[in-house]
């Protein structure tokens, strides 16, 4: 706390109120992620497969998936924690990013598909299509797919936010229409005629940029890329939060009407932050799909979007790192539980949400902060006792 304050003062000398990379919390976060990446890489590569501390390719893959979820949670926390927009449809942006990457991977299959068609993905051959739909063009290039993975969620967020924020929709109503948005997209993507593989989605991917997706080294690479993306996303959010615009966002969260009378255009602030968040969610989706090997309309399901709100709530809203902790903890629990008691997950999820709301309103991050405060108070006491 006091270190952050010192950084704030140091930053002030340069005209910032605080520089994101001067914040102790940011430094600790980046260091932790780097250390975790290095540790997992070492345990995976250096130790023989039989060793008790060896991290298997399967686990590396699983952890990579969690990191993508963590980035998604950070994106949600940006709009929920720092702007007061509770999006119950952030899964839609994640899924769109995933579909963009899936389309690239799909086209990379080429002649190796069941039907051996060099041009068309299997499901199109199956539907007796003779030509690639126009919106599938360009996805044979990786850079194009990556740009689309950011652009498409960004554009959707822009179009949606433009109308919603301009009409000053807020609170529960906004949450409900975000939920409707993802539900509508799910229904659309379930249709075969849409050209995204219907309810099977896109799958059977072979390679990414020439690397075999089934190989351990590729999985390790994707895991590290996910970690780097998480750090990137965290810094983007932090820089935004530390700008004056970020403080306006917090003001909008707490008293949006008052902000207008200071001369700020609230709807533009909301729109900007919402679009940034959607693009980060799209990036998370793009990294997620090659690691799980499939993208289907399930990712659009309203339930998934609600689930990720639970991650953030449990981890601690408006801290960013709390969102990361929440995503990791809940998904670890989910992986463990769905193999132990597959039917219990939804009840556990609901229970977690209720517990978080009632017992930990500030989430795990709040609990950590409280412990830290208590410890430093104790240290001060001890020091006083000594003198």
């Amino acid at each position: 706390m006091s270190e952050d304050f010192a950084a704030k003062r140091a930053g002030m000398a340069h005209g910032w109120l605080v520089r994101p990379w001067h914040e102790r919390s940011t430094q600790v976060f980046l260091f932790s992620v780097c250390a975790a990446l290095a540790l997992v890489t070492m345990l995976h590569l250096a130790l023989p497969a039989g060793h008790p501390l060896h991290v298997s390719a399967y686990t590396v893959n699983l952890l990579g998936k969690y990191l993508c979820y963590a980035l998604l949670a950070v994106a949600l926390d940006l709009v929920w924690g720092y702007l007061g927009v509770l999006s119950l449809g952030h899964g839609a942006f994640f899924a769109l990013g995933g579909y963009a990457m899936g389309m690239y991977l799909m086209r990379g299959i080429g002649e190796r598909g069941v039907y051996g068609n060099p041009e068309l993905p299997d499901f199109m051959v199956f539907l007796n299509w003779d030509r690639l739909p126009w919106y599938w063009h360009g996805f044979d290039m990786f850079w194009f797919a990556l740009v689309m993975a950011l652009l498409v969620p960004g554009l959707l967020a822009f179009a949606f936010g433009y109308f919603a924020f301009r009409s000053r929709v807020s609170g529960v109503y906004l949450s409900i229409i975000t939920q409707a948005l993802t539900f509508a997209l799910m229904l659309a993507f379930l249709r075969n005629e849409m050209g995204f593989g219907g309810n099977n989605g896109l799958t059977d991917f072979r390679e990414l940029l020439g690397f075999d997706l089934r190989q351990g080294s590729t999985r390790l690479g994707l895991f590290i890329a996910s970690g780097v993306a998480l750090m990137f996303g965290y810094l983007v959010c932090r820089a935004l939060i530390c700008s004056r615009l970020g403080r306006v966002g917090v003001a909008v969260r707490d008293a949006s009407n008052r902000v207008r009378f200071l001369g700020y255009r609230v709807e533009r602030v909301q729109l900007y932050v919402f679009v940034v968040s959607a693009m980060l969610a799209g990036l998370a989706g793009a990294l997620y799909v090659p690691q799980v090997g499939i993208i289907n309309p399930n990712e659009f399901s309203p339930l998934f979007s609600i689930e990720l709100v639970v991650w953030v709530a449990l981890g601690g809203r408006a801290t960013l790192y709390g969102a990361v902790i929440g995503a990791l903890v809940v998904n670890y629990a989910k992986t463990w539980l769905t193999s132990a008691m597959p039917d219990a997950w939804l009840f556990v999820l609901g229970g977690l949400f209720v517990a978080a709301t009632l017992l930990l309103p500030q989430g795990i991050a709040g609990l950590l902060a409280q412990l830290r405060r208590r410890k430093s108070a104790k240290r001060d006491e001890d020091r006083e006792a000594l003198t």
Binding site: R258, R260, G263
Partner: protein, 279 residues
Amino acid sequence: MKPLSSLIQRDRVFDFLKPRESPVDVRHGPILYLDEVSVSFDGFKAIDRLSLTIDDGELRCIIGPNGAGKTTMMDIITGKTRPDSGEVWFGTRHDLLRLDEPQIATLGIGRKFQKPTVFEALSVFENLELAGAGDKRLWPSLVARLDAQARERIEETLELIQLTEQRDRAAGVLSHGQKQWLEIGMLLMQRPRLLLVDEPVAGMTEREMARTAELLRGLAGRHSVVVVEHDMGFVRSIANKVTVLHQGRVLAEGTMDQVSKDSRVAEVYLGAPEEELVR
């Protein structure tokens, strides 16, 4: 700490108390002009053909019983509520009914709300910083850096509102009176031409009240100030011209002595004894 009087005395004009260059044109008349403004909520006429003019540099007090429409009038001027009919002009050039809240604020109309509204999660310093007269558009806000001049303005304002020691505390933990002061400080940071101040001394101690009166008096001249207040003692201490509002229209206008002698005014304050008005 500098005494307040040194900060607001007329012959020593502090830069940060000067209004910003505003495009408002007051060469041909008043700074604010309301003509036959009416608004009703579900058939209830909250403002009923209200006409009012405020001169440039004037300090005007608006009094009236609860529900007279004082706050609604400010809502109309600042673009929060659209009237059903009538005209509202800022200077001779700006039709306020065509503008929305941020545009009106940017033109140089600042407002303090009846219920003090500060950004509770932000520090006192940050509250003032956001209110500051910088460019409020999206991109400039994103890349805005606090320069030495802006910081100095904030420090001076902090001193003026006596919150220097609380500068890094969250605004949410301030007392009611301190929040009132902070909001006044935010208003000053905006450097508006016209200040609309809704019940500024509610919850203040006698001493704080006297200080507020001194501050508002010091602002008049370079700014135009409209103050809504219930506290008659306070009104008497600052106003030379008072407008009495009742049921959405102007009941009387004049000096405090004139309006308090008005029999209709005494009537609407029935319940509040006449002495209170005359005190």
